[in-house]
């Protein structure tokens, strides 16, 4: 039973949205969502890697020897991650400095590898493209929502603009690591509640 391309795309936005439904790629989800700017940058980087690696792996799916498929996936993913890293260094250097180690760590992020293993090595190029794009955008959106909540409450700003008057007392807990866990947990609970009906 083949799904349509639209279905492959939209499943990444809700039914299989990475950090909440698949609960994959949590390390950067927790670490880079202090500000919306970082989250969007990270989301775009992951989307690029995911789309490119999905397409390439799906193109190669008939010639990849199954015994060394993981090694092949890692080479492909690592190549694209390095491409992103170089491009970010060349054109968005301040963002690259803020995201730091989390850009190279996309290599060991479960999402691209998970999609390669579970989807693109079994499906056609177009479907893999839609799958990668959907999941990537879903991931970027989740990071942005999480970051918006943490940034607004934790530092009283959004995209660097101050939102509240001088009387606002920042809820510093939100920008620290425990705040990330609590916030992620609450969002996950909300999503489960919404999806329960």
């Amino acid at each position: 039973m083949a799904k349509t391309l639209t279905q492959e795309f939209t499943k990444g936005l809700w039914a299989e949205i990475p950090p909440f439904r698949l609960v994959l790629g949590l390390c950067p989800t927790l670490a880079v969502t202090k500000t919306v700017e970082n989250a969007v940058g990270m989301g775009i980087a992951v989307t690029f890697v995911l789309v490119c690696s999905n397409v390439l792996i799906s193109m190669m799916r008939r010639i990849i020897p199954s015994k060394v498929r993981i090694a092949v996936f890692i080479i492909v993913i690592a190549t694209f991650v390095t491409v992103v890293e170089l491009l970010m260094q060349a054109y968005t250097y301040p963002l690259f400095l803020k995201l730091g180690i989390f850009i190279p760590l996309i290599v060991v992020n479960c999402i691209p590898l998970g999609r390669a293993e579970a989807f693109s090595c079994k499906n056609g190029v177009l479907a893999s493209f839609a799958d990668g794009l959907g999941l990537g955008i879903g991931y970027a959106l989740s990071l942005t929502v999480l970051a918006a909540i943490r940034e607004v409450f934790g530092s009283g700003t959004l995209l660097g603009h101050t939102l509240f008057g001088p009387g606002f007392q920042p809820f510093t807990f939100m920008v620290l690591a425990p705040g990330a866990f609590v916030c992620l947990g609450l969002l996950l609970a909300l999503m489960n509640l919404a999806g329960k009906k």
Binding site: V72, I75, A90, Y91
Partner: protein, 197 residues
């Protein structure tokens, strides 16, 4: 056996392809990355040293060979005359190399100011070399023909308390810079004269 050859061929071709792609990309972004690094990592230190310069020191830079190493020299136009030079040296600190930008006034042969660019010193202790302007200010006006040392070594610079090694590293870097400056003075003057026209 056939399977084995298949695995080797696929992995080899893929690795060669990815290596080639990355090498080409690195080659083509190298210059842009260097400009970005100058702007965002070294830029603030250069700007602080050349406060009041009427030109853009990063755009007005030239390279000069000093023995084996090629160094970037940044020119500062003060009072309508190119009379300041800034370049980077490094000293061995507590946690690795400490990069220091050192600026020289070419009319008086004196240090105009220093700024730490990169370091991995202990936060709150050695990191004060970068964050505490009082430490850097002590270098202002030191003559290039005298050795730069901390007070406990018989020099004029008060070490940061608890971070003597870092303070020494900065002094060594500034001293090296002074030596390079004196050694290359003829070539540097030539470059500056060319720049003035």
């Amino acid at each position: 056996m056939r399977e084995m050859i298949h695995m080797v061929v696929v992995l080899t071709v893929l690795s060669a392809f990815s290596g080639g792609l990355l090498a080409a990309l690195r080659e083509s972004t190298q210059e842009q990355i260097e400009v970005q690094q100058l702007q965002f990592v070294k830029g603030p230190a250069i700007g602080a040293i050349l406060k009041g310069a009427t030109n853009d020191p990063i755009a007005d830079r030239f390279k000069l060979k000093d023995g084996e190493v090629e160094r970037n020299f940044f020119v500062g136009v003060l009072n309508g005359k190119p009379s300041a030079l800034v370049f980077e040296t490094s000293g061995k600190g507590f946690g690795g190399d400490v990069g220091v930008m050192v600026g020289f006034n070419t009319d008086e042969n004196k240090i105009m100011g220093i700024g730490v660019t990169t370091h991995s010193e202990t936060p709150g202790m050695g990191s004060k070399a970068k964050d505490d302007p009082a430490f850097g200010n002590q270098f202002k006006g030191l003559a290039v023909d005298k050795p730069v040392k901390v007070t406990s070594d018989g020099g004029a610079v008060n070490a940061i308390s608890g971070a003597t090694i870092t303070s020494r590293a900065v002094c060594n870097a500034a001293g090296d810079a002074a030596a390079i400056y004196t050694r290359l003075k003829p070539q540097l003057t030539e470059q500056l004269n060319k720049f003035g026209k």
